[in-house]
Symmetry: C2
Subunit: 327 residues, 2 copies
Amino acid sequence: MEDVAELSGVSHQTVSRVLHDSPHVRPDTRERVLAAMRQLDYRPNTVAQALVTGRSKTLGVVSYDTTLYGPASTLLGIEHAAHDAGYVLSMTSLRSLNRPTVIAAVQRLRDQGVDGVVVIAPLRAGVDALRHLRADFPVVAVEAGPDDSIPVATVDQVAGAAAATRHLLDLGHKTVWHVAGPAEWKEAEERIEGWRTTLKAAGAPVPPFLRGDWTARSGYELGRTLVQEAEATAVFVANDQMALGLLRLLHESGKAVPRDLSIVGFDDIPEAAYFVPPLTTVRQDFGELGRRCLHILLARVEGASGATRVVVAPELVVRASTAAARR
Amino acid sequence: MEDVAELSGVSHQTVSRVLHDSPHVRPDTRERVLAAMRQLDYRPNTVAQALVTGRSKTLGVVSYDTTLYGPASTLLGIEHAAHDAGYVLSMTSLRSLNRPTVIAAVQRLRDQGVDGVVVIAPLRAGVDALRHLRADFPVVAVEAGPDDSIPVATVDQVAGAAAATRHLLDLGHKTVWHVAGPAEWKEAEERIEGWRTTLKAAGAPVPPFLRGDWTARSGYELGRTLVQEAEATAVFVANDQMALGLLRLLHESGKAVPRDLSIVGFDDIPEAAYFVPPLTTVRQDFGELGRRCLHILLARVEGASGATRVVVAPELVVRASTAAARR
DNA sequence: TGTCGCAGTGTGAACGTTCACATGGACCCT
DNA sequence: AGGGTCCATGTGAACGTTCACACTGCGACA
């Protein structure tokens, strides 16, 4: 910067002003400075800027397993939104999600000088950790956060599960079974809730749900139990991978989908449309989710306060894995 | 830091020394300083450290579509390795991959003060961009890089494709068809090469390959062409998603897998084992890949030089989608 | 017994910015 | 003509570290 100043015959301060488009610079001076910058290939030192301003134009993300489709897509949405806002993203991926690890990760990012953090913590434990964070630092949770102590962007899981369940009931099924996700996941619990309340509201019997772990393998295993229930004609599975496993087991058991059993999944992963048969599922707009939560965070960083809650609506996508009940 | 110094009755420099475990501090002094740090909950300002040392303990990653299984897993491997080495990761995700965008992304990260960058740029164009980067900054490419001008960590695509093809030939198939990935992807081209040379080496005829775009949809569409080839009994598909699409089309066309057609995929995505039938495929250890490339980068950052090339071996996973040719 | 070396500590400058304030001139108004 | 205002610019300190060097005392060695 000193070099640029010297070359263009002004002080370092004027260079700084040009850099920030200050109105108090004469056009010809500005031009001279810009020329010098170009000539010297000057690039402002963001680290020095961060030191003096206390702002780094960097945001942190702490996430769990970015290999899963949901978190990965959300992360991408966050990244794009951050990029568009001129922010850089720092990432931390936890190997296990519990109170100390989440707190440590946020602290670490904070020490690194990020202006704010978004936590993708769909587990109960992670959600819980957020409540124990200092309130003097902008944090937003995505996809399940604690009550209202922290701003949250989330997809309405209950509504999605309700839509899936209602779809099956509308097709004439007497009731709907459910393959759930792991108990520690808030989303899993909310999907159970949406499913159960919809059944109750319709006066349908509520069968016990089966507990999976999101993997295709668990869907496959739990399918064994399901095929023994002669009554079952419709299942709402808490994610598409488990639905895939279930689909395979049914195929191996000689059961036809949707003739013998109608299936609805959740997430709408890109592969779902090419399952055999193509899977009816509930689409979550993860990209939008990420974008929205980043905007909340940005507002916070800029000084807004008060808890916020953004809810993205899921959408039922009807394909070939569901059909009217046989009578 | 000044506060800590004052509280423990030493100078700021001694505090700094304690911070860095300098041997030239008397044990009791060290103890006093540490106590003061705890009492004041002192956290060193990494930004100031970065300013003066020129090192930020931050590494950059520029990637393309982190929603895909491969890049996402690689990213995770990189992240874990970085974390273990005490580094933080800054991420940039490109919306389109070409020379200017890649160069701009690297520059941006560099301006942000990262110590080095890994580029996940599987496209020809991205690979190309790397050649036009200043050599005075540590960059490593993962999964396809230019010749030898830049260090690279990669999975041996040719060997993987060869293993897949040979597996099918060994089962007695006269030849093997191929559904390839998009031409701009280096991996796609290398898989074609592995497939073609293996066929040639075995004296088998080389049918024209079909050009897909990695999506299940394209596998489905291209399947139409494939079922019209009465001769075809074996196909090597360049990734698992396209194999899924193909599987569905075959099912709809009344063709049985593997009875009428044997199929091998590539990647071994977690879902592959639950396709109908379970997919024989080539597993890539993306986590390992990420870890390895990060270690190369770290070595570079610490001052090592000279191009390096690390190759991870893929592994054929035989499942139920391949069977011996009928005679 | 003088001096060399080293352990333990302190001092001030530097890193590259921005911030708060000071300066000087042009213009306008009374 | 004098004073206020605003524009354009400059000056020095501050941000929180590390770095290079200087200093003090103590033990060892010749």
